[in-house]
């Protein structure tokens, strides 16, 4: 099997195993690690997790499919999640979403052809007091406006052209 945890994530994985009386409990944190390390949970990534935890693949698949942050498809290098729930809606989330779709030329669930951006409408991010809010990889961007979105996209593009190696963030490091 080609996939392997980096030494850092291997150490994290080993620490996870010690936390629970039942190794199945390490499954979701391990999937979060794998999601982060490999970008998304390909069939191969899930097989890898299953083998590391000595669990049936079907068990891993059954759990992974339940959780939206455990991605089953590749996302852009910058995965943009727009909260569409009630408080954000009241503060203009739909305008933000429409604007993002227009300037990126993609809809929710799609990735730009250059692989730089992907877009997703999400549920409440627990940031309703600073609505509307978007999350780009690990980071929240609050009190957003169309102007701020434009600045943000520009700085993300700059970031991408300057440094290589940024990977899409996909959940917490356990």
């Amino acid at each position: 099997m080609a996939l392997r945890f980096s030494p850092d994530n291997e150490a994290r994985f080993q620490a996870l195993l010690a936390r629970y009386p039942d190794r199945r409990a390490a499954l979701i944190p391990t999937l979060v690690l794998a999601n982060r390390e490999f970008g998304y949970l390909s069939r191969e990534a899930m097989e890898y997790v299953a083998s590391r935890l000595e669990l049936p693949e079907s068990y891993v698949l059954n759990t992974a499919t339940f959780y939206t942050l455990l991605r089953k498809h590749p996302v852009g290098r910058f995965h943009i999640q727009v909260c569409m729930n009630v408080s954000c809606y009241l503060r203009g989330a739909d305008h933000l979403a429409d604007h993002l779709k227009r300037v990126l030329g993609i809809g929710f669930g799609e990735v730009t052809p250059d692989g730089l951006f992907s877009l997703e409408g999400v549920q409440c991010l627990a940031s309703c007091g600073t609505a509307p809010v978007i999350q780009v990889n690990d980071d929240y961007h609050e009190d957003m406006t169309v102007e701020k979105v434009d600045c943000l996209l520009e700085s993300l593009r700059r970031q991408a052209s300057q440094a290589d190696g940024a990977r899409p963030g996909t959940g917490g490091v356990p």
Binding site: R19, Y20, P21, D22, R24, A25, A26, L27, I28, P29, L31, V32, N62, T63, T65, F66, Y67, T68, L69, L70, M84, N85, V86, S87, Y89, L90, R91, D94, Q123, C124, L125, A126, S127, C128, G129, T130, A131, Q135, D138, D139, Y140, G169, G171, G172, V173, P174
Partner: protein
């Protein structure tokens, strides 16, 4: 003001803020900064007491759960079986998913030590040696903050073997969620920690009997935990007097929507809703009249402008026909389409139903589709009654309260804004300029 004031010897009540102590932009992330502010005195106090005496103190304080249901924390702790030899667990619910709610994040991001003090005290009281803090997966930064705080506590002997030399041992771990609102429901949360899809369990047995890994387990919300050291520091009586009879303590109110100053506000439990909206949050944008207020998170029945003179505590809100929930107040002013607001809410619950029970799986999708058709001009005469009866069929017929959470906003919006729903149907379009 205080009904409990003793006139002969005026007590000097402790002054807050008790929960939201960080000033804007401030965060208390170093253990030393927390200790210089009197941190961990409540923990030392608790560890010198008998565990059952700690539970009694929390019981007497009438600390009701801040996660939404308002169950008295001390009473819940008392449900643990006395004779079960299995290990016990404390699980902290940091899934913060109910739309409108953003209070637990304050502790996870800017002030983790009061939460962790609560975890130590509660674990000690229930005789648990392991505690898991389940933090929603989107909170990447917050997970790092809490893990760093835990590390500092281990380094200084506040966690691990022989806590502060008392002989008591406690391990605390963060467990990340992975994006599923239903995992905020306590039994789904346990399933999720066990590595399974987050499908709520049938009860009984309750988690206090059969919880995590089949062992007796107590689940409490982050804010509930952060209140526990206050009970120890100020005493049950003082804590109780900070709130209303039977419902003690300070409370964090989350205000969002069409107000001038959205944000978190700490005030006594039982603070008047009007005061929260108009005084704390500065009133509505452009001083527009209020159309509706969702008082306690998106599942709680909506209130109209003439229903806002109410104390925000668990019993008063019930008496008003709504709920305190997570005290997540969402304000919307005239000019807002109530059907469009309900559509966001109904879409959410349909999306988040775990699909396990038929009334919830089918019913929530059905509610969403009918509300959507009304909003998009395809409503039919009789749809309002259909919505009410469909919601009624979900309520009380599901394994967990997600079904109720989906039904209550539909019932309240359709009842209180019925004329507006009927107008959508009659005109075959949304009559409001929005979008």
């Amino acid at each position: 003001m205080s009904e409990n004031a003793d006139r002969s010897a005026p007590p000097t009540p402790p002054t807050g803020p008790f929960l939201l102590r960080c000033r804007p932009g401030e965060a208390i992330l170093r253990l030393d900064d927390h200790l210089t502010r009197g941190g961990f005195e409540p923990v030392r106090k608790a560890l010198a007491m008998d565990p059952d005496a700690v539970t009694d103190e929390v019981k007497r304080a009438s600390l009701r759960g801040r996660g939404g249901a308002g169950f008295p924390a001390g009473v819940k702790w008392g449900f643990l079986p006395k004779d079960n030899p299995k290990p016990r667990y404390l699980v902290v619910n940091a899934d913060e998913g109910e739309p409108g709610t953003f209070k637990d994040r304050y502790f996870l991001e800017r002030d983790p030590f009061p939460l962790l003090e609560g975890v130590i005290i509660a674990s000690y009281a229930i005789r648990a040696n392991v505690s898991y803090i389940y933090i929603r997966g989107e909170f990447v930064k917050q997970i790092r903050v809490v893990e760093d705080a835990i590390r500092q506590l281990y380094d200084r002997g506040f966690l691990g073997r022989n806590v502060l030399g008392t002989g008591y041992s406690l391990d605390v771990y963060v467990h990340p969620g992975a994006g599923a609102y239903v995992c905020g429901e306590e039994s789904a949360l346990l399933e999720s920690i066990e590595g399974k899809p987050g499908r709520p369990r049938n009860r009984p047995p309750f988690p206090a009997q059969v919880g995590l890994f089949g062992c007796p387990t107590i689940i409490n919300n982050v804010e509930t935990m952060a209140c526990v050291p206050l009970v120890l520091r100020h005493g049950a009586d003082a804590f109780l007097k900070m709130g209303v009879p039977g419902d003690g303590g300070p409370k964090i109110y989350c205000v969002s929507g069409h107000v001038k100053r959205p944000g978190l506000y700490e005030a006594p439990m039982g603070t008047n809703l009007k005061r929260i909206i108009f005084e704390f949050a500065g009133g509505t944008l452009d001083d527009r009249p209020i159309l509706g207020v969702i008082p306690g998170g998106s599942s709680t029945p909506v209130l109209t402008a003439d229903e806002l003179d109410v104390a925000m505590d668990f019993n008063s809100m019930r008496a008003k026909g709504s709920m305190l929930g997570s005290a997540a107040t969402v304000v919307f002013t005239e000019g807002t389409c109530p059907v469009a607001v309900l559509l966001r809410i109904s879409r959410f619950y349909a999306h988040e139903s775990c699909g396990q029970c038929t009334p919830c799986r089918e019913g929530t999708g059905w509610l969403e589709r009918v509300v959507e058709s009304i909003e998009h001009g395809n409503g039919r005469p009789g749809d309002c009654d259909l919505l009410l009866s469909a919601a009624g069929q979900i309520q009380g017929n599901t394994i967990c309260a997600l079904g109720d959470a989906a039904a209550m906003p539909v019932q309240s919006f359709v009842t209180k804004f019925r004329a507006d729903f009927e107008r959508h149907i009659a005109e075959g379009r949304c009559p409001h300029a929005h979008g």
